[in-house]
Symmetry: C2
Subunit: 216 residues, 2 copies
């Protein structure tokens, strides 16, 4: 009584979609594998034909989240002049933050702190080798440093710092947006501050070299 075996990749996607919705509704430890198979209209055991475990499913969800974000950003960045590195950096920062915020609930539910000590495939740490999102930033910082746009002695360390600044700040905004509305004005202020940090740290703001200074 299975009308027509669905194409396998499509079935996998259906399971992922169902899981994403459930994560939003009940949190990671709040939904069961059976919930997922019910929503996807397959038997419980079928789940294990597509995923090794519930935990691996969650990892796949995180990967998909990151990949989607990276794809959207790449598209937006492609339209910028290729050699304006400070501009690309600013845009990457803003897009990342807004991207996280736009999918705040899912991001929140997926990357909540808690849980397991298992190896963390797509885990946070800003290691460009393990994180496609951080890899984008690394490219910008690297190229911008080589072209002399950024005054950084160690570009790959700078990536670590800046990635984490962005990511943590996004977490913070997501958190604030939960109870009660997060005003657009506030979001903009945070983004402006983030960009200021980037500029000062990379010493990009050189172009306007004098700015009068009140003593002490």
């Amino acid at each position: 009584m299975k009308p027509r075996t669905a194409p396998p990749e499509q079935r996998r996607t259906a399971l992922l979609d169902a899981a994403a919705e459930l994560v939003l509704a009940k949190g990671i430890s709040g939904f069961t594998v059976e919930d997922v198979t019910n929503a996807a209209q397959v038997a419980k055991g079928t789940f294990y034909l597509y995923f090794r475990s519930k935990e691996q499913l969650v990892r796949a969800l995180r990967e998909r989240f990151i990949n989607d974000l990276v794809a959207r950003q790449r598209a937006a960045l492609r339209r910028l002049p290729a050699d304006d590195w400070p501009g690309r950096l600013r845009r990457w920062m803003e897009l990342s933050l807004r991207g996280y915020l736009a999918h705040a609930e899912l991001h929140d539910a997926l990357f909540q702190h808690d849980g397991d000590a298992a190896e963390s495939a797509t885990g946070h740490p800003a290691d460009p080798a393990h994180n496609g999102h951080a890899a984008e930033l690394a490219e910008i910082i690297q190229a911008g440093s080589e072209s002399g746009a950024f005054a950084l002695t160690d570009p790959s360390l700078a990536v670590v710092l800046l990635y984490n600044t962005m990511h943590g700040t996004a977490d913070y905004l997501v958190e604030r947006s939960r109870g009660g509305a997060l005003s657009k004005a506030e979001t903009n202020r945070v983004i402006a501050e983030l960009l200021k940090l980037c500029e000062r740290y990379t010493e990009t703001s050189r172009e306007a070299p004098l700015r009068s200074e009140g003593a002490r």
Copy 2:
């Protein structure tokens, strides 16, 4: 056959200690409540006289971790001149990073990403209102801004950015230290870079105003 009912606060601590060891050995989802009660020499049910659930136990462990860190830092900061805000900021950053690193495994196991959507009491987000550790930083930034040591238009936003930069960077180092040794030299380089970011962002490095510049 219970020789002498132990003082209750002491029993709670015994359970926490046992749990901390188990978290290190097996990870949060790797140990059972029974493991804890066995290690603490009490019956399984006794656990629920002291904690509402396994999850609440984990939260208590996180709280204890943060509190210990804060206490150690406060002691170290007390010995600095009270009005050298850039110095205090630098020291806070360095102590935080080294503090996390010194207890890397436990930090790692406790704050691993994964798990539940339940409310996050001691959660990361750099909101000084909810995080005693970030509150320390907030005090430094606030006082330093008022005294004119830092050039920040919005000190409380700066706290958010800087706290996350530090925390994420610590996570990164913890991660790196896992497989293979993390050299002292590398740790020092990261700390130096972190301090540089702080100085540039807060515009503390004014004292040495000229630094020759290669054009473009």
